[in-house]
C-alpha cells in the first residue's frame, strides 16, 4: 500500500497530519470530559445521596479499569455494533476508530475531571453558596453564577495536569487504528526500518504539544486571576495585604501620596 510517497519529506507531512488528529482527539476528549465531569462534580458536592452514589459508581468504573481495556471494551462492545447498525439502517459510515477513541478517552477523563472540579468546589467556602441562596438565587443559579466562575479558576492548574496526562494517554489509541501520531510513527518505523529517529520524533511532538497546552493554560490562569487573590491563597502575595494598609492610611490622611500598587 502506498499511503505515502517513500520520501522522508512527505512522511513528515503525513505525521503532521497525525498530529492534527491527536490534537482533535485531545480537544474532543477534554471537552467531553468537561461536559461529563462538571455536573458530576456539582452532584458530588451539592447533590442528593442517590445521585452521589451513581456518580461514585461511574468514577470508580473509569478509575479502576486501564485505558487500554476500556478502549477495546468500547470499541467492540459499543461502537462496532453501533456502526453495523448505522450502516445497515441508514447507510451512514462513521470514523469508527476515532469516534471510539474520543469517546472512551473523554468519558474516562470525565471521571478524573469530576474529581478536579469537586476539589475546586470543596475548596470554596460553603458560605459562598449560602450567601448566593440567601440573595434569592436558585440552587442552579448559585452554581452557575457564583460557584462555577470561582471553581473553574481554581481548577485550571489541575486541568492543565489532566491535559498533559490525557495527551500522552492518547498515544494508546493507536491500538484501535486511529491514525494519530503514534500509529503513523509505527507505520513509518515499519516502512523505513528506522526505530530510534522516529521514536525521538514522536517524543518531541508529544513534548511540544504538552509544552504548548500548559503554556496556554498558564496564560489563561494569569488572565483570569482575581486581583488580590493568589490562585493558591494570599500567602504568596503579600502585596495584596499591603494594599489594604495603603487604603486605610489614605482614609486618615487624604493628602498622603498613594503608594503605587504592585503590578
Amino acid at each position: 500500500m502506498s499511503i505515502f510517497d517513500s520520501s522522508l519529506i512527505s512522511a513528515a507531512f503525513w505525521i503532521a497530519k497525525g498530529t492534527g488528529l491527536t490534537v482533535a482527539l485531545i480537544v474532543g476528549a477534554m471537552f467531553l470530559g468537561l461536559i461529563v465531569g462538571l455536573p458530576m462534580a456539582a452532584i458530588q458536592v451539592y447533590g442528593p445521596r442517590w445521585a452521589r452514589f451513581l456518580v461514585m459508581v461511574y468514577v470508580w468504573f473509569f478509575r479502576g479499569i486501564p485505558i487500554l481495556v476500556l478502549l477495546f471494551l468500547f470499541y467492540f462492545g459499543v461502537f462496532s455494533p453501533l456502526e453495523a447498525w448505522l450502516t445497515k439502517f441508514f447507510g451512514v459510515r462513521i470514523n469508527l476508530p476515532f469516534l471510539a477513541s474520543v469517546t472512551t478517552l473523554g468519558l474516562a477523563s470525565g471521571a478524573y475531571q469530576s474529581q478536579i472540579f469537586r476539589g475546586a468546589m470543596l475548596s470554596l467556602h460553603m458560605g459562598q453558596y449560602e450567601a448566593a441562596l440567601s440573595l434569592g438565587f436558585t440552587r442552579l443559579g448559585a452554581l452557575v453564577n457564583i460557584i462555577l466562575p470561582q471553581a473553574l479558576r481554581i481548577a485550571i492548574p489541575a486541568w492543565a495536569n489532566e491535559y498533559s496526562i490525557l495527551l500522552k494517554d492518547s498515544a494508546i489509541a493507536y491500538v484501535l487504528g486511529t491514525l494519530e501520531i503514534m500509529s503513523r510513527i509505527k507505520l513509518m518505523v515499519a516502512t523505513f526500518h528506522m526505530h530510534v529517529p522516529f521514536y525521538i520524533l514522536a517524543g518531541f511532538i508529544y513534548y511540544f504539544l504538552t509544552w504548548l497546552g500548559i503554556k496556554a493554560l498558564k496564560k489563561l490562569e494569569a488572565k483570569t486571576r482575581i486581583p488580590g487573590l493568589g490562585s493558591d491563597g494570599d500567602a504568596h502575595f503579600p502585596e495584596a495585604n499591603e494594599e489594604i494598609g495603603t487604603d486605610e492610611r489614605l482614609e486618615e490622611n487624604p493628602n498622603a501620596k498613594p503608594v503605587p500598587k504592585p503590578a
Binding site: A132, L135, F137
Partner: protein
C-alpha cells in the same frame, strides 16, 4: 467615627400598636437536629414590622442555626416560618428562593463573592435574580455602596478590602434586594476592634431607617439602644426574653444580666495569666 446612638428613630412597630394582628415574621415551634444533636428545641419568636430584636447567649446555644432555619438555608426539622403570614414550609424550590429574597442575611465572615468587584457583588443578584439590565443594576449597586460609604471602593475585589469594608459591602448587597427584614449573624465578631465601629455605624443607620432586624451579637453596649427586645438563648431554647432595660438591670438577677456582666468583666479585666483562670 462617632456613633450617634441617641438619634435612632423609635421603632415603627411601636407606632402601629393597633394592627398587631399579623407579625411580619413568625417562627413557630422550630426544632432542628444536626449531627444527632438537638440544636434547636421548640423555639418560637416573632417580629413586627420595624421591630429590632437581639439574640444573645453562650456559643453553641443555637443562635446562628435559628437564623439559618428562619432563612430556610437550613430548613427546620419541625415547625414553620411565616413571612407576612405566608408559610415557608411547603413552598416549592422557586418559591423558597423568592421567600429568601425578601429576607436579607448578613454573615459573620461576610461571604462576599471573591471573583467579583464590590460593585458587582452588589449588582449580581439584581441582574440574575431580579433580572434587571446590567446598567440599571450597577447604578443601583453604586447607590447602595454610597450609603455604606464605599462608593470609592466599588472597583476593588474583596481580597483588596479590609474586614470592615467587606462587611459594609455585604450589607449593601443585602439591602439592594430591598428585603423586608434583615437577619444579622454576629456581623462584627470577625473584625479587628478598630474596624467594628464602621460596621456598627452602618447598622445604626439601617435601624434609623426603620429596618426590621433580628441580630445575633455580643456588642450589647452598642445595640441595647437600638433594640426593642433581648432574647437569651441557651441549649437550643429561649431562656429569657424581654425589654433590654429590664433584662440588663444588674438587680434583676436575670440570666441575661449575669451573662452580660461576665462579658463586660472579661473585656475590662487586665489580661494576666493569673486572673485568666
Amino acid at each position: 467615627m462617632s456613633l450617634e446612638l441617641n438619634k435612632v428613630a423609635p421603632a415603627v412597630g411601636a407606632e402601629s400598636e393597633t394592627k398587631r394582628s399579623q407579625p411580619l415574621l413568625e417562627a413557630n415551634r422550630i426544632s432542628k437536629t444536626l449531627g444527632g444533636k438537638l440544636i434547636l428545641d421548640d423555639v418560637s419568636l416573632s417580629l413586627d414590622r420595624g421591630q429590632r430584636k437581639i439574640l444573645i447567649g453562650p456559643s453553641g446555644g443555637g443562635k446562628s442555626t435559628l437564623l439559618k432555619c428562619i432563612h430556610f438555608l437550613n430548613p427546620p426539622d419541625k415547625g414553620d416560618v411565616f413571612l407576612d403570614g405566608k408559610s415557608a414550609k411547603d413552598m416549592s424550590q422557586s418559591n423558597i428562593s423568592a421567600f429568601r429574597q425578601e429576607i436579607g442575611m448578613i454573615f459573620q465572615d461576610f461571604n462576599l463573592f471573591d471573583h467579583l468587584t464590590a460593585k458587582d457583588n452588589v449588582a449580581i443578584a439584581l441582574r440574575k435574580v431580579k433580572k434587571q439590565p446590567k446598567a440599571a443594576a450597577r447604578a443601583r449597586a453604586m447607590e447602595e455602596l454610597d450609603k455604606v460609604g464605599l462608593s470609592d471602593k466599588a472597583e476593588l475585589y474583596p481580597a483588596q478590602l479590609s474586614g470592615g469594608q467587606k462587611q459594609r459591602v455585604s450589607i449593601a448587597r443585602a439591602m439592594a434586594m430591598e428585603p423586608k427584614l434583615m437577619l444579622l449573624d454576629e456581623p462584627t465578631s470577625a473584625l479587628d476592634p478598630e474596624l467594628i465601629g464602621e460596621v456598627l455605624q452602618v447598622i445604626a443607620d439601617l435601624a434609623q431607617g426603620g429596618m426590621t432586624m433580628l441580630m445575633v451579637t455580643h456588642q450589647l453596649d452598642f445595640v441595647k439602644h437600638l433594640t426593642d427586645e433581648i432574647i437569651f438563648m441557651e441549649n437550643g431554647r429561649i431562656v429569657e426574653q424581654g425589654n433590654p432595660g429590664v433584662l440588663l438591670d444588674a438587680q434583676s438577677n436575670s440570666r441575661t444580666s449575669l451573662f452580660c456582666a461576665k462579658l463586660t468583666q472579661l473585656s475590662s479585666k487586665k489580661w494576666t495569666p493569673g486572673n485568666f483562670m
